[in-house]
Symmetry: D2
Subunit: 390 residues, 4 copies
């Protein structure tokens, strides 16, 4: 059994020593820092340190509970490239989890094994220009039967890591029409499949994701029956299987980044003199420092609670929605206060805070905007009230 | 071993059946509802139900961990008079805990036993007109040596439950002078001791506390050496012993009250029609309902985490400060949103929400204002950073 | 022409001297302070001071622009009973304005004149148990033709000042059915009309309104054709005529109350010592004091801007919605911070702040909840964008 | 007399037509867009349009009141490079104002005239690594007497526009020592003066300022007596002369940028379909849209009020602090909500919002952090209370 506390400590040390210097030198821009080349190098270092892939299925050398992951991934997230070094960045980490739950033996060998070993990267292609992430009824990419397989037509966008991915898990409509929910199916599509075209990187605020967030076109992409991941028309169900834990691992990683922002702000205010004293002793600074501690602690407490529920085999949809929504907003507040605490320095790349703020801002939108989660949270509790009342 | 989950369920049922009707009939005004007479009646009912005093020391029939208390007290707090019914209201509950930790065998028999059995109430006399709660250096009540004991002179205020209390635990300066911290000692002063005068009830917003929040004068109150609780000059230390858990039990109880406010708001919005649909289906209402769920969940998560730390024997000063500060503010937000969700009804005594809002508002000040806690939280984390850096 | 600045100064002096002592002695409870008896007495004093009714139509001794009213009513609102003393409390002040715009000569003599002279009070009966204020389609009180007039059937609630009012302006449906907007008509119904029954005072948080917020039943109330105020089926239009300025005068009065809360908090913090200095010099206290100044200034700036628009004859629906929504929330924040600044004292009736907080809380709901105003604000701006784009 | 309303309309049209295409093509990065070359080109276009330099002193072709500037600069700020096109960007605009108030005839000819004509740019060198902006006692750059003039030694940072500026206005200590306030003097230092070295551009979040925010070294820079701007040791006073209006013109420009963010968000939500309707019709979207309207209106109202005070010759320190503090935070909230309303698109350079958010964030720090303004606001009001009470 893995000692997660010790592992988290080792991961944190590794991140501080090996990852932060690269991040700081390139202001967190993964492309500038070397992209996949950097990934390979950092993962080799992590492997040498014995900390690579702790979240992988046991058969692939890992075996952490989600609650244990929370400690390890928070430590990894202390550096923007830390999760990448461990092979624990999105979307690979979530895809690994999904494949382990659903893939056939053949798919495990072809896709899961090289992914777990860090030999390839992957992408998860669900979001479309008209939505499809928050509202399944808007899914327009379609897969129709073709001789011995399927033919996929459609366009995806914001596909994280698509540029350079070895394969994509693609969500396509296999029944129903746009406007109703219908059924969707997941397909495993290797890079290089004819008709698959990875387009431009959407020029987003964040810049730390290897492979960017890309437009991807499927122009008559034909795959065999063995490309179907799980059952036909069961794609939305698998998406939920993937999303619960994936939401939590996002929170873990960004929580680590917020901790670094707070650390940097405390270090700055503790050495900065102003108005005849240390900045960290001024009441308004204390308020921001304390509010950061509160937000970090509350995020962590909600996250750990949701992980315990998931580890116990519960769906925990309400718990993960709450932890994701609160966490994404709290992490945003923490980095914003940390910037403010450092004044002009906080606005510059001389400290890591502005860059972290830029990276975490999209998290209030990615993986379900706060507003969609709030709608779901309210519906669930009102519906539960209605049932209890009747 | 007590099954706290089952107990919490029974307590909630009891509160709904026996306590809420009284609370609703008197808009939560304990004096109007019968004061100590009501207390005796409700405690008899709780005893008959087998749910009285679960938090008492094992020797007195209780034996919950603090983490277990969290479930039971939240259930009790669903009614404003619920904790009173269980003998678990402030300040008795905190005094019980303190006496169990510090009292001599004689003091246990004279003070602790009748308190645990609900035969008397008690008060904790620390706050003074000039402060003394948040800032120990402002303590002005003084105890000086007298033949065979001590003579206490001073004035206290906001002493919860003083009117009708069987005894008071009194904090008095026994060394140093006002302006420095010095040393304080706790004394056990029975009601009726000459020179002890319980004055007016401070006319506060909240009205659910039996015995009010009173001015108390000590005009040459003489007590014997056996009135000293614990060691001379160790009062501030004992206050911390009392305050950590007492802070958490406050949060537990008020969390229960906030849950009732949310329940009432959900019930109202689920049956109210407006703009051609149910109020609970409107986006802005969903937002308030969801934010309430988030605030309740985060308060509970922080609270449980702090309880686990305290149960493990840690001081957990940071954890309890964080849970208290976040909890008091979150509970205030929840009740405020619940009021807003119910429109005009939310402003009236026809629903319990306005009354709960009135009761919980002072919790952001009582037991340490949020600002004082934030100052302490910031100091602790900056100081830890400093130590780690050097 | 009236010198509004000088008048405002005189009103403020009068309020401090004549009104605050009564308010403080009865914690702002108008019923406890004497109700209509107190009203008559205070109005006599105001008349003696030459400051009664400055907002009345010029023919009745007044003649302020709305922008001038802003200064005078803010000064009056410094005391909870200040507007009452000037005859400028809701709903009389708004009714005066409405009657001056719409009433026939006969109605002016019978209703407007005595109201302007302070001989009677009035009420405005629009709100119903199912809504009708925020959403006109829910209006259920119906007026049907009767020989020589109309017969009114229905139930109203939250009718401010109904108990003791000399007459009511009643909104009743005269075309369409509940569920659609249809047409409504305003009727002037004198107290004592058979079938008119003023029921209980809704037990609301606020207690400073003479005549309470009442349930009112109309059981076959028959009135003549001369009871119709303005045109038949034009009631919703007149309601808008009344509501724009009435919204602003509410803001003016409550702004004055918030200023008193801030004054009380500043006075308290400037004399209170803690942590070795004055409370007003601590950073977190400065932040609350400054945020209050900002909120007061922003409320005033938005209010004055809307008044200037209304004075220029514009409808200013967006401006008044914005000023009302921001103002109601800002005033709530100001009083809440003022309470917090004063610690335990802030929670008590020893300072006026807790009482002011109680009085202003419903303003976020009364006169259109913030949520309904926000919906309207968004719709107007999106609609304007759409028009500009096409 | 200038018709500011008409001018504002023409400026807005010009910005939409000439400026936004350049901004959008380069994601608001002035260096990428051409730097000074672009400036010259845009200014020529503005001159051709008859809208260049309306804020300049009348002798130089301008003559707007500050209140009129508010309309014109808001229109200019609709594009990030709009103020630059009009010659109205910081720091030139504030320097123009300062020189017009203080410069000698010779200095007017040498420095003011070319600046007003857009022939050169300028910089204002006050901020230092240790502060000096918020807290004058930390000023360390020193000017000592040299034969026929002064010798300046020190280091500045965050000097906006320094790279490429024709001259700098430099604040240097001429009496007292670091740690006390002492006296400071302003010097006019032309580019190319020996010992003056413009260093790196601080890598800040914002990228729209021509000439960047630079480190600047003064290594034995010698200037003549005619380089003294105004009187010796009067620098802090002049800084106030400059800062009041400069604070307001910052708010004007950034307000315009926030208006564009809101426009972009409204356009997006009005055409985006989701959950079976338009995004702009969902309650939570309406709330964000409405809150943006409220924040924009309140910023504008506070700004205009402060401008009217300044135009009337008052110092208006409290009014400008309030308008700056509220405005900077409100503008930040508006852009953040606008981003959130647009989901993934809001995070990308495909819409202008993320870029505007990046540009306005530092405004909560630049020109006095919110916290320093709040301290000053609180001190002023407490001090006024104290005077009134005594």
């Amino acid at each position: 059994m893995i000692d997660a506390t010790d592992l988290a400590r080792r991961v944190r040390d590794f991140v501080v020593r090996e990852v932060l210097p690269v991040e700081d030198a390139h202001d967190g821009d993964i492309a500038a820092a070397g992209g996949d080349e950097l990934r390979v190098k950092l993962q080799a270092a992590a492997r040498a340190e014995g900390i690579f892939g702790p979240h992988a299925p046991p058969a692939y050398g890992g075996g952490l509970t989600l609650r244990q992951c929370a400690d390890v991934f928070e430590a990894a997230g202390y550096g923007l490239f830390g999760p990448l070094a461990l092979g624990a960045a999105a979307p690979d980490e979530g895809n690994l989890h999904l494949l382990d739950r659903v893939a056939t033996p053949g798919q495990r060998e072809t896709f899961l094994a090289p992914l777990a070993r860090g030999e390839v990267r992957s992408a998860f292609a669900m979001t479309e220009p008209a939505g499809a992430g928050s509202d399944p009824s808007t899914l327009r990419t379609v897969a129709t039967r073709a001789p011995g397989g399927w033919r996929i037509e459609g366009r995806k966008t914001f596909i994280t890591g698509a540029d350079g991915a070895g394969f994509l898990i693609v969500m396509a409509r296999t029944s129903g029409a746009p406007g109703d929910r219908g059924g969707a199916t997941m397909f495993l599509v290797p890079a290089g499949t004819p008709g698959l075209k990875v387009g431009r990187h959407v020029p987003t605020l964040d810049r730390s994701m290897v492979g960017g967030h890309c437009d991807v076109d499927f122009a008559g992409v034909v795959v065999g029956d063995d490309a179907v991941l799980g059952e036909v028309d069961a794609g939305f169900r698998y998406a939920q299987v993937r999303l619960g834990p994936a939401r939590m691992t996002h929170v873990m990683r960004w929580l680590g980044a917020a901790v670094r922002a707070q650390d940097a702000a405390i270090a700055y205010t503790a050495r900065r003199s102003t108005f005849g004293g240390r900045l960290s002793d001024l009441g308004m600074a204390q308020q921001m420092i304390a509010d950061n501690e509160i937000d970090l602690a509350a995020t962590r407490a909600l996250l750990h609670h949701a992980c315990v529920q998931l580890d116990a085999g519960r769906e925990a949809a309400q718990e993960t929605s709450i932890a994701k929504t609160f966490g994404a907003e709290a992490i945003g507040r923490v980095t914003d206060r940390a910037m403010q605490l450092c004044g002009g320095q906080g606005m510059s790349a001389d400290l890591p805070i502005a860059r972290i703020a830029r990276e975490v801002r999209p998290f209030r939108v990615y993986d379900g905007p706060s507003e969609v989660h709030r709608m779901a949270i309210a519906r669930r509790v009102v519906s539960a009230h209605r049932k209890a009342a009747s």
